[in-house]
């Protein structure tokens, strides 16, 4: 899902899995963030690759912003907004 075609847009990688309640909550927050700023979202189902599954199975939801800021687990909106430099 691409939110913006802007070259300088924030890159967001979202590791998730079906049936993960915290992931659904994190996705809602990302949608709220999308109303405030533009970003390019890459959503990855951790079951798509064994290595990714092993790495993130007990951590999801994991959101990586511009390959440096990692937010995971029970994500608070204020932390996510801060990571997007919105607060």
């Amino acid at each position: 899902m691409t939110k913006s075609q802007d070259q300088s847009a924030t890159e967001v990688t979202f590791y998730t899995k079906a049936g993960c309640h915290l992931c659904e909550e994190a996705r809602d927050m990302l949608e709220d963030i999308a109303a405030l700023t533009t970003y390019m979202l890459t959503e990855i189902d951790i079951r798509s690759e064994a290595a990714i599954f092993e790495k993130y199975r007990y951590r999801i939801p994991v959101i990586i912003i511009n390959n440096d800021t990692i937010i995971e687990g029970r994500i608070e909106f204020r932390d996510l907004a801060k990571a997007f430099h919105l607060r």
Binding site: K17, G19, C20, L22, Y58, R59, E72, G73
Partner: protein
């Protein structure tokens, strides 16, 4: 007509009605009081059992495709637990409704209070210093992890949480029972002791 209505609400009728109301209220109070005296521990056990069962049901409901119910229970349980994924147990790949430490606390409190109920509330309580000794490991494990001094393990969370839960029920519940028995009049005490 007007005179008749006045006669119907005479002071005597008011007194009779009030006496009836008093009697009903007294009886209701006695019934509720007796119920609470006899079943307070069972009610606590049921409440704890519901919490534990709810936490366990979350991954099973997700596994069987009942995500809508599972999600509601999961987020309701956030009232009593932070639900940190890396600190939680997983069944069928789905996170339990509570983290390892809280699940251990509530499960041990449930089992501890169930044992107390099954023993007819006859288990003697632990002294306060044993209670302190039993809750101290979780206090140390939890605070050192919270301040980033070290990272706990699931084994430590379960062990310290279980000690904490058992200490609480075996200190507080027998104390409540002792206080109830001491505050009851002699005739009620005989009835309670037999239950």
């Amino acid at each position: 007509m007007a005179i008749q209505e006045i006669n119907n609400t005479s002071p005597h009728a008011h007194v009779t009605r009030r006496q009836t109301l008093d009697r009903v209220m007294n009886n209701a109070g006695r019934v509720i009081g007796n119920f609470l005296i006899h079943y307070w521990a069972l009610m606590i056990t049921c409440a704890l059992g519901i919490l534990v069962f709810a936490a366990l049901s979350v991954p099973f409901l997700s596994y069987f495709g009942l995500d809508g119910i599972s999600k509601q229970i999961f987020f309701a349980l956030h009232l009593v637990c932070a639900q940190i994924p890396s600190h939680s147990f997983y069944i069928f790949g789905h996170q339990l409704g509570m983290c390892e430490r809280n699940f251990s606390i509530y499960a041990s409190m449930f089992i501890g209070s169930l044992i107390l109920v099954l023993s007819n509330k006859r288990i003697p309580g632990i002294p306060w210093w044993v209670w302190i000794l039993m809750i101290l490991p979780m206090a140390i494990d939890g605070t050192t992890q919270m301040f980033g001094l070290r990272e706990s393990t699931w084994q430590l969370r379960v062990l310290t949480g279980t000690l904490f839960g058992l200490a609480n029920v075996w200190f507080a519940l027998p104390l409540i029972q002792k206080t109830i028995l001491e505050s009851l009049p002699a005739q009620s005490l005989d009835g309670t002791a037999s239950n």
